[in-house]
């Protein structure tokens, strides 16, 4: 478990992070969402020890991270970077060895990853000769090649074609499934929505929302319901405590003042005939995001 506690950071007089605290649980895919300049990259750099915080600490299972712990992280910086003139496989082996892997396991991991990311054919090519999408895959391989126990990935999906997004998503999900805490930032909220278990929303250097995706949705849900039945739903208008927002024959969207009122509608609908769907409208991540950072 990765714990970020009370982290504050200033550049000169400008405070870019204010008392940032959140947790990345074991095996949890944690989405880190915020506008440009909100402080995501700075936070990630501090977690990786590339920057040092003015205040606050980063803990692994309750113990402050040391320099030698950092090599247990897999890190993908926001600005991509690998040696342009170095061959892909050589580069991965080099990075793995810097993390302490033996030559043999460095080579084995490299081959495995290139295979999984569909880059085997490009292993002997220099990075600069790869297409952007393939460079991106190589970058992801660079973050994973040393069997990291934690993943911190800054915008891992940017610049990937939809196919590559699927590949990378499954690789990351695989890591989380093995129990690794995974923190990733993304502007593509639909991907975050599909992928993450937990969500951290940051704005102006402050954490605005933080928790499991479902809990956040619950929190930000309006008391709005959808119903679709076999017959006409016009009767809902006259129910007590109900305001109909939208109506179209067998379909209606309504707001209920209380839970009891919405349940009463469901009871009556069931009594009247077949109910196809009855659900509370869940806000999309984009909606929650806008609400939270507003």
């Amino acid at each position: 478990m990765l714990d970020i506690r009370g982290v504050t950071k200033s550049y000169g007089t400008r405070e870019v992070l204010t008392d940032v605290s959140f947790t990345v649980g074991d095996g949890r895919m944690t989405g880190f969402v915020g506008a440009n300049g909100a402080g995501k990259t700075t936070t990630m750099r501090i977690i990786l020890g590339v920057l040092s915080p003015d205040e606050g600490t980063v803990l692994i299972d309750g113990v402050p991270v040391t320099a030698s712990d950092r090599r247990r992280f897999g890190y993908m910086p926001e600005e991509r970077g690998l040696y342009p003139k170095m061959k892909v496989a050589e580069q991965l082996v080099y990075l793995a060895r810097l993390h302490g892997l033996s030559p043999a396991s460095a080579r084995r991991n490299t081959d495995d990853l290139l295979e999984r990311l569909g880059l085997t054919a490009r292993a002997g090519d220099t990075v600069e000769s790869l297409s952007l999408g393939n460079q991106q895959r190589a970058q992801i391989a660079a973050a994973l090649v040393h069997d990291p126990e934690f993943l911190v990935l800054d915008e891992p999906f940017s610049g990937l074609d939809p196919l590559a997004v699927e590949v990378v998503m499954s690789v990351l999900a695989g890591y989380a499934a093995q129990g690794a805490p995974v923190l990733f930032s993304s502007h593509q909220l639909d991907i975050v929505e599909r992928l993450c278990d937990d969500l951290v929303i940051i704005a102006d250097g402050e954490i605005r929302a933080n928790g499991s995706r479902e809990a956040l949705r619950e929190q930000h849900s309006s008391p709005r319901f959808e119903i679709r039945t076999a017959g006409d739903t016009g009767w809902i208008r006259s129910e007590p405590g109900i305001t109909v927002i939208d109506f179209d024959g067998d379909f209606a969207v309504f707001e209920a003042e209380t839970d009891a009122a919405s349940q009463a509608v469901l009871h009556r609908a069931v009594a009247l005939g077949v109910v196809h769907t009855f659900s509370q409208q869940r806000p999309s991540l984009a909606t929650i995001f806008k609400e939270v950072i507003a």
Partner: protein
């Protein structure tokens, strides 16, 4: 952790440095431009030795035309290629058409000490006159150990090699620092190994390459001198070459740290040149000083202790026999200490400036933040 994963032990500082320096070396050896430049440098070194030996072996004798009794005077000297001519007129014709450099004919004047007249085309032929002249006895009180011209050549040789190696590898280090910064791989590196290990690896790798280059040049020149039979010269230059290599090893590390530190303050390859130009001046100074002051013992003595010029200044003084046995040792200690100080300051600049992208980082910011 709740799951199992292979456990890898963190590399030690030394291992990290070694890995980084290995990468630097491999990258250099893969670079065509580096291989070509090294090849040319080695070729020039060998060529200069061979050319030197050819010039000294084929010193052709001066051709003179000789008429009549003058031949006895000219033959004594054994320094001329003699063309006999029957008449003075004929000898003059040979001088005019350039077949000979001068003509020596019997003198008409009764006052003539040697009894000969030298005929030349447009000016007095100094070499001919010098050879034919009667010389007074000469006594040299304190003979110079080395011929002045040779000393000049040796000084320039050390100067050029130092200048070329230092600028080539200095620029290489600077570029590789900015490459890492520009491509941002430095962020991954910094999250993996310490900045000091990164800097040390870069300096070590490139210093090894530069040192290897210097040693190969030294070996090639020595072998060249031996093979072409210039053993006398080898015995004179040999110790200076060895000291040069030793001084170069330390001097280059110092320059490498300076190049790395100054380069880390900029973010783009285009800015490397202007950022590292102060270091370039430091490298050029010894070169120009030896060219202008190689016959000035005081300037050479000072140069041989100033860290930046010591790698050139001290070997030249050793070659000239001007240095006491302890002088290179003392100078080397001064150089080693300044190298350590520069590495400390350099690594501070380096670690502070590495993550700052965009505008050039000022020296003050790099030192204090």
């Amino acid at each position: 952790m709740s799951f199992t994963r292979p456990v890898h032990t963190a590399p030690t500082f030394a291992q990290s440095v070694w890995l980084v320096s290995n990468r630097e070396i491999t990258a250099r050896l893969r670079s065509k431009s580096f291989l070509i430049a090294t090849g040319i440098l080695l070729l020039i070194s060998v060529a200069s030795v061979v050319a030197g030996s050819l010039v000294s072996q084929n010193e052709s004798l001066t051709k003179v035309a000789v008429v009549g009794t003058a031949i006895s005077v000219v033959e004594q000297t054994e320094a001329f290629d003699i063309v006999e001519s029957d008449t003075v007129k004929g000898a003059e014709a040979l001088v005019r058409d350039g077949t000979v450099d001068a003509a020596v004919v019997p003198s008409n004047s009764a006052d003539s000490l040697l009894g000969i007249t030298v005929i030349a085309l447009d000016s007095a032929p100094i070499d001919v006159l010098g050879t034919l002249s009667v010389r007074p006895d000469v006594k040299i009180l304190d003979p110079a150990e080395q011929d002045g011209f040779l000393a000049y050549l040796v000084a320039i040789g050390f100067g050029i090699i130092f200048l070329m190696s230092a600028t080539t590898f200095g620029a290489t280090i600077a570029q590789s620092v900015v490459e890492e910064k520009q491509t941002r791989i430095v962020e991954i590196l910094m999250s993996t190994i310490s900045v000091r290990a990164l800097l040390a690896g870069k300096v070590l790798g490139n210093s090894l390459m530069a040192f290897g280059q210097i040693v190969s040049i030294g070996l090639l020149v020595s072998i060249g001198l031996a093979v072409t039979g210039q053993r006398v010269l080898l015995a004179d230059v040999g110790p200076a070459i060895v000291w040069f290599a030793v001084f170069f090893a330390f001097g280059f590390v110092l320059l490498a740290a300076l190049y790395a530190a100054t380069a880390s303050m900029v973010s783009r390859q285009e800015d490397v040149g202007s950022a590292t130009s102060p270091v370039l001046f430091l490298v050029m100074i010894p070169y120009f000083l030896v060219i202008f002051f190689n016959d000035n013992p005081l300037v050479l003595a000072i140069m041989s202790y100033v860290p930046f010029s010591a790698p050139v200044g001290m070997p030249v003084r050793i070659f000239l026999g001007q240095a006491e046995w302890w002088e290179p040792v003392l100078s080397l200690i001064v150089l080693a200490l300044s190298t350590m100080v520069v590495i400390l300051i350099g690594s501070r600049i380096y670690s502070n400036a590495l993550l700052r992208m965009g505008a050039r980082v000022s020296l003050r910011e790099a030192l204090h933040k």
